[in-house]
């Protein structure tokens, strides 16, 4: 085991806490070399770095074994770090991230990591909202040499609360069909505990499409993200990895050609959801990350 707890004070005077995974010092001739490139992982949403089945820890362990230092941290207000975070509905946290609220701490974390491990460059791996933050941060740091973006949601802030993509509505429909025979699901529905807004969004999306409504127009998309990707693609190596069952796959496929024009590499993993919850999808995800 070669991981340690670390922290730094951010510009607002709050302690940002994290874990540094250091590669073992090479002792044998076949040991992986110590790299001057470090990996910084950014988790999605605001549940901290253990969310989504400890994906961050799994990524960190894999890259540590390859000889890379890896840094995981919680932004101020999140998880272990100091600072307050508001309470509220999920959509508000999505907007919070899409507005770039986590960029400043990310930039400070990049600097801290580079300094404490003597790194020349830092690779950002971000999942979901973490991928958005990674793109935004890249605009402002020359130390970031590469982006590996897992399932970045392409839709913008206003769309999240009201709209639903075709893939999303299809998934929810399958889910609700499955729940047709669940007594507890019906009891939740009649006791007011179901997410009526979600059901309404799904029905609206279905009805709208049946009437000939269109798929994602560009106005629905997250423009700062697309601008950031266009700019990053010209400067550094960028790769986007998506699961073919991700609710955002439709928008992603619509932009794949444009991404390739921006010199951004893309991969779609078969039978993989947004959270990569199967052994097969996790294995492919890890090999895609390591191959990059």
């Amino acid at each position: 085991m070669n991981r340690k707890t670390v922290s730094f004070a951010n510009q607002r005077g709050l302690r940002v806490k994290g874990i540094l995974f250091e590669p073992d010092a090479p002792t044998a001739s076949d040991a992986p070399p110590r790299h001057k490139t470090g990996i910084l992982y950014l988790p999605g949403i605001v549940l901290g770095l253990t969310a989504v089945h400890r994906l961050s820890v799994q990524v960190a362990t894999e890259f540590q074994q390859l000889g890379y230092p890896v840094f995981l941290f919680d932004h101020s207000g999140i998880g272990e770090s100091e600072g307050d975070l508001f309470s509220g509905p999920y959509d508000e946290f999505v907007s919070f991230i899409k507005r770039g609220s986590l960029v400043d701490d990310t930039l400070e974390a990049v600097d801290y990591f580079a300094k404490c491990c003597g790194l020349r460059e830092v690779v950002l791996i971000g999942h979901c909202g973490g991928a958005l933050t990674a793109v935004y941060a890249t605009e402002k740091s020359k130390k970031i040499s590469r982006l590996l973006l897992i399932s970045p949601p392409l839709v913008g802030e206003s769309t999240e609360a009201t709209g639903m993509s075709k893939a999303q509505s299809k998934e929810y429909l399958a889910l609700y069909k499955h729940k047709l025979f669940s007594v507890s699901a019906w009891s939740r529905l009649f006791s007011g505990k179901s997410d009526y807004r979600q059901i309404l969004r799904m029905v609206r999306a279905k009805v709208f499409r049946k009437r000939g409504g269109g798929v994602a127009d560009d106005g629905r998309l997250n423009k700062p993200l697309l601008d950031g990707l266009a700019s990053a693609g010209r400067r550094i190596d960028v790769k986007i990895i998506y699961g073919d069952r991700d609710p955002g796959i439709e928008e992603f496929r619509g932009w794949q050609e444009q991404f390739s024009r921006w010199r951004i590499r893309t991969t779609v993993i078969p039978n993989a959801s947004h959270g990569f919850v199967t052994d097969e999808s996790m294995t492919i995800l890890m090999s895609e990350l390591k191959a990059s």
């Binding site: 085991m1 991981r3 340690k4 707890t5 922290s7 302690r15 806490k17 874990i19 949403i45 605001v46 549940l47 901290g48 770095l49 253990t50 969310a51 989504v52 089945h53 400890r54 994906l55 820890v57 999140i78 998880g79 272990e80 307050d84 975070l85 508001f86 309470s87 509220g88 509905p89 999920y90 946290f93 299809k170 998934e171 399958a174 889910l175 499955h178 997410d195 699961g243 069952r245 039978n271 993989a272 959801s273 947004h274 959270g275 990569f276 919850v277 199967t278 052994d279 999808s281 996790m282």
Partner: protein, 261 residues
């Protein structure tokens, strides 16, 4: 409760299992160990526990939080988690407190952590044991968790390919299954399925705090024990539709319980 002592927060890895530990020290003699939930319930409630720990520390407790081996920020792979190991981890953390001259140690557990705290109370003496929304029956809990893969499967394959019983067969054959992305070992599933459900006798002397009335209604002996039910707490462990990171009523209620002699 006296004036809050200044607290100092530190994080470190404890023991040969390298358990992630966070210690908020205030220099007083009362110690409180927060016993965490499992799987995705852990990140969903982490900020609540972090904030609560800071409030308890400000109120004069040395507060220790930790992650079980194979969970959270601790060493180990997900499949290394087992209930027996989790109990050992809790005991290692309590030993750490006692080695730091803790005379009075209390436990506060959330969900599976509350179940574990109730079990620990049978084995050892604690000043107080407080259970927040405890898992009552680990066997039902793990089966619910396994059943929840139906949602995963729909999200991944567009259909349910494996029923819970087929997943258990797979577990028997392969020694592990993935549930919500968490690898569960045969040992973990078997131990949880064979674990004794909490009964009235286990809970009589413990402080029970709920905020979902449905939990109490579903378990008749809980209603008989007249637990505290907080009415303004929205903390969820089973979804992220609403995230509550500060639960004042819950923390104030718990501080009231901790202040009792």
């Amino acid at each position: 409760m006296g004036a809050a002592a200044p607290t100092q927060e530190s994080e470190f890895y404890l023991g040969t299992k390298a358990l992630y530990v966070s210690l908020a020290e205030c220099g007083e003699s009362r110690w409180l160990v927060l016993v965490p939930p499992l799987f995705e319930e852990l990140p969903r409630t982490r900020k609540l526990l972090v904030n609560a720990a800071r409030k308890f520390a400000a109120a004069g407790f040395n507060v220790v939080r930790f992650d079980y081996y194979g969970t959270g920020l601790s060493e180990g792979r997900c499949e290394d988690f087992s209930p027996a190991q989790a109990m050992q981890d809790l005991e290692a953390v309590v030993t750490f407190c006692r080695e730091r001259a803790a005379r009075q140690v209390s436990l506060l557990g959330l969900r599976y952590g509350a179940y574990l705290a109730a079990q620990a109370a049978v084995r050892s003496q604690y000043r107080q044991v407080i259970l927040w929304e405890p898992v009552i029956d680990p066997a039902a809990y793990v089966m619910e968790f396994i059943k929840s893969t139906a949602v995963d499967q729909i999200m991944t394959f567009g259909e349910v390919r494996f029923s819970p019983s087929e997943l258990l067969e797979k577990l028997g054959r392969e020694g592990r299954i993935l549930v919500n992305g968490y690898a569960l070992s045969t040992a973990a599933v078997d131990e949880l399925r064979q674990a004794r459900a909490l009964g009235r006798g286990d809970c009589e002397k413990l402080a029970l705090v709920f905020w979902r009335r449905s939990t109490v209604v579903k378990t008749p002996f809980l209603a008989e024990l007249k637990p505290i039910v907080c009415t303004n707490v929205k903390v969820a462990w089973d979804h992220i539709k609403f995230l509550e990171h500060e639960a004042k009523e819950l923390v104030d209620t718990t501080l009231g319980l901790l202040a009792r002699q």
